[in-house]
Assembly symmetry: C2
Amino acid sequence: MELDQRKKIILKAVIRNYLETGEPVGSRTISKYTDLNLSSATIRNEMADLEEMGYIVQPHTSAGRIPSDQGYRFYVDTMMEEKDREVVELKEMLLERQDKMETLLKQVAKVVAQNTQYAAMISAPSTHRNKVKFIQLSRVNPEQLLAVIVVEGNVIKNNIINVAEELSDENLLKLNILLNTHLNGLSMEEINLGIISAMKQQAGVHGSLIGEVIDAVGEAIKADEDLEIYTSGTNNIFRYPELTDNGKASELVGTFEEKQQLGSLIQESLAEDAGTGIQVYIGDEAPIKSMKDCSVVTATYELGEGMKGTIGIVGPKRMDYDKVIGTLRTIQSKLDELYRNE
Amino acid sequence: MELDQRKKIILKAVIRNYLETGEPVGSRTISKYTDLNLSSATIRNEMADLEEMGYIVQPHTSAGRIPSDQGYRFYVDTMMEEKDREVVELKEMLLERQDKMETLLKQVAKVVAQNTQYAAMISAPSTHRNKVKFIQLSRVNPEQLLAVIVVEGNVIKNNIINVAEELSDENLLKLNILLNTHLNGLSMEEINLGIISAMKQQAGVHGSLIGEVIDAVGEAIKADEDLEIYTSGTNNIFRYPELTDNGKASELVGTFEEKQQLGSLIQESLAEDAGTGIQVYIGDEAPIKSMKDCSVVTATYELGEGMKGTIGIVGPKRMDYDKVIGTLRTIQSKLDELYRNE
DNA sequence: GTTAGCACTCAATCGACGGGAGTGCTAACA
DNA sequence: TGTTAGCACTCCCGTCGATTGAGTGCTAAC
């Protein structure tokens, strides 16, 4: 069977109506809702076809139809190609450029959640590929050294290193020069054991002590690379009974708290990034099982210097895709603006 | 009317039974539960008295009794003075000493939540009173300076400072000396505008540029003083219907996400700190209105060097106070141990 | 191909009903 | 005077059946 023009119109009408009301929609409603001027009986026939084709389902025999995952997928796909979304006006949108990345991200998550009334999450941009700008090792007291590493994008990492034996001023200076000449300009992912052992070799004699310090610096660089994720509006899920019935709320809240679980979503979204960077996952399409009754819309953003992160919105399948995608587009461009002329 | 010995026994029996079952408890149950050898009729009379005195209430006419807030309060108070709690064995309790405070705190929250099956929160110790150990200003590039401040307890703060005009090596060195001589050994709360302007004065001529830098350092020290709070086990609240019925879940989850709201609790707990540092808030006693159906148990902890923070456990009023308090005691001593010989 | 009509299905709602847990009160007992 | 057995009463809760109403599928006529 083929999805002809009329079927498409009816399918869209069903979905749009369901998005609004959250109730199964019957043939009579569609008969009046659309301007097709068809009787409910005709619509009934078409709807039976659509059901057979898998776009809509009946929750029980004598109820109206609701969209299946396949139906949502159709809707989202056609919607995405149809028109350029108008830019959504964000309520109280004030993104000031923050020194602290953390503050900015929390702010974005909050704005997005408030605006859409769904749950929002945002991952900090990964800095693997950012280059080291500056390294400094200083003595805090005889047994403690402080290593500070500044990376492009003004990301700062630091680490306190405990040493058994005091390092002479001369050696400290040498070490600083060594570290800077070897590591400056390298991206964090390029700094590997090979480079570190090369440095150790060049440092020569003092093997053990200096070696330890070099290792510690290497660790400081590698550390903290677990992706940080911030969430907001988790309690918006309570607006949608289909997400909170039967103890589903507990699972979802748990997932949002254990932010590591959200990682897979972030990864996938970054990987799939095509064109606009906006992705829609419906039900099982998302790689997180507790979200099987949700839809997830993700957008990748870029903060100058190639630092990429992901924003995600989680809501019921009957979410207002149009608005959500519009909001994400707006945020994308605002962030881009904010950091373009760094 | 007086709360005589027998009434106390009955009251405790009612409460203990209710804690176990979560069901209203009737006179017959108590008659068998206790070894008073009284008939249910006698118990009924006593229970009527207890109700009149406000220790227990009936959810409806023909139901058993449940403890009122006043009843819980009595129970907790007598329990606290009764005996030394035996030490609770924590499941999989492995607190390794972490370099990163954040990791340690998240770990503690998680352990506590898993152990008690309630929601847990923990505030990072405030560092107002910690003394500055080390300050360093370095040039990252001609327009950017990096300020690093190390505070007792190895708390590290840093800030990138943008300058309009390059600072000479000589001036940078002077500044470093100036900063260290003036600020080293002072606690963060002692560093105020007076001290900062004194430094500016001493710096003399270069007023504007150097003044700006000094201000920026001052800001870096003051910044980030909003208390950080970590939570875990939020979804444990779903184990207790009385906390999640009628949309209460949404409120509670919201409170846990907006961690700032938890601040008042932390403050109060730190302020009230008496003796053991353990506090119990029942219902309205807690300063957060979304917790009016909860009980909250807080404990202050100390990580050497006078860094104090608070751990809080939030659960239903019928929480297992005994276990919760035991767990908190154990955590307190483990943390103390961990940092005692710094 | 479209539509009116009709029988059918099934979830949701409502009221009636009975069981059960628990109470308060009274009267009898030690 | 304190304790207890007995009893009527209250009220929650689950079950059952009837009713309602929205919606469907099918058939026959247009």
